[in-house]
């Protein structure tokens, strides 16, 4: 068992444990903290998969911006812990969750059995250190940010611009929503 494997199990434990504690904690503030632990674990797994740029983005965008926004809203609204009353809906949704999780596992097992590559045990193919970005029409996976930028600005130019427009629309939407809410709150 090599160092990389030990690191995989450690960070997998971090990600799963953080997620479990997140959905189990009664109070929202510890839940947000456990969520940050889980996100950092996933970012470390991205590093192990040699997607360094995505790992940095994961830390900056999720653990940095999104979770700070969550914590800010939790503390702004002063949310307390959930009450103890367990309803019938909880039982039904528990059954539904268990059922669909089992369904996912079954579909995964079928996928493993039917497709050869995922279970053939050959492990990882080496990343080629070529200076080319493309191989025919395919973009070659590489650890560098340069090839990421090449892909974004050539093949994925239109989605990049649409996502920029989406961020603008989200910003305008948030401003309109919060303005309307504060006007109605003052009446």
């Amino acid at each position: 068992m090599s160092t990389v494997d030990i690191l995989f199990y450690f960070f997998a434990l971090l990600a799963l444990g953080g997620g479990m504690l997140m959905i189990c904690s009664k109070h929202p503030v510890p839940a947000a903290m456990f969520m940050i632990v889980s996100l950092v674990g996933v970012a470390a797994l991205f590093v192990l998969l040699e997607a360094f740029f995505l790992a940095v983005l994961q830390i900056l965008v999720y653990a940095g911006a999104v979770m700070v926004l969550f914590l800010f809203i939790i503390m702004l609204l002063d949310v307390g812990p959930e009450g103890g009353k367990a309803s019938r809906m909880k039982l039904i949704s528990g059954f539904a969750g268990a059922f669909f999780t089992a369904l996912l596992v079954v579909v995964f097992l079928i996928m493993v059995q039917s497709s050869g590559w995922i279970n053939n045990g050959e492990g990882w193919s080496e990343i080629s250190d070529t200076n080319e970005f493309t191989n025919g029409s395919n973009l070659i996976f590489s650890a560098s940010v340069k090839s990421f930028g090449y892909g974004l600005l050539t093949k994925y130019m239109l989605p990049l611009q649409i996502s920029g427009f989406l961020l603008l629309a989200a910003m305008v939407g948030v401003i309109v929503l919060s303005k309307k809410a504060s006007e109605e709150g003052s009446n």
Binding site: M1, S2, V4, D5, F8, Y9, A12, A15, L16, G19, M22, I23, P28, A31, A32, M35, S38, V42, L45, F46, L49, A51, F53, L54, L57, Q58, V61, Y62, V66, L69, L76, E82, G94, G97, L104, F108, W117, I118, G121, E122, G123, W124, S125, L139, I140, F141, F148, G151, L152, K155, Y156, S163, L166, L167, A170, G173, V174, L177, A181, E184
Partner: protein, 102 residues
């Protein structure tokens, strides 16, 4: 224990997705439900990066980039809606959100 293969990562992403899914179903706090949605997206991202790495094709990684963009926008709008709802209902629990009109 055996060597870590792509299927280990896929199993892990399946577990993360399932945890997030159970969180969305079982929790009654809308903030925690939004956080569980983020956890589901993270599981999907991990699966996409794994497939991208094991097939040496960058498309999956670029798709993860777009998912992160959309998730950030979704969280911003979702939290704004949550604050607006809180101002009306004085609660963030899903059982209090049972009326469409005010």
């Amino acid at each position: 224990m055996e060597n870590v293969t792509p299927s280990h990562y896929i199993v892990l992403s399946l577990c993360l997705f399932s945890i997030g899914f159970l969180g969305v179903l079982l929790r009654r706090n809308l903030l925690l439900m939004l956080m569980s949605l983020e956890l589901m997206l993270n599981g999907i991202n991990l699966a996409l990066v794994t497939f991208s790495r094991s097939s040496l094709n960058l498309d999956g990684s670029i798709f993860v980039f777009f998912i992160m963009t959309v998730a950030a926008a979704e969280v911003a709008v979702g939290l704004a809606i949550l604050v607006a709802l809180f101002k009306k209902r004085r609660s963030v629990f899903s059982e209090d959100m049972n009326v469409i009109t005010n």
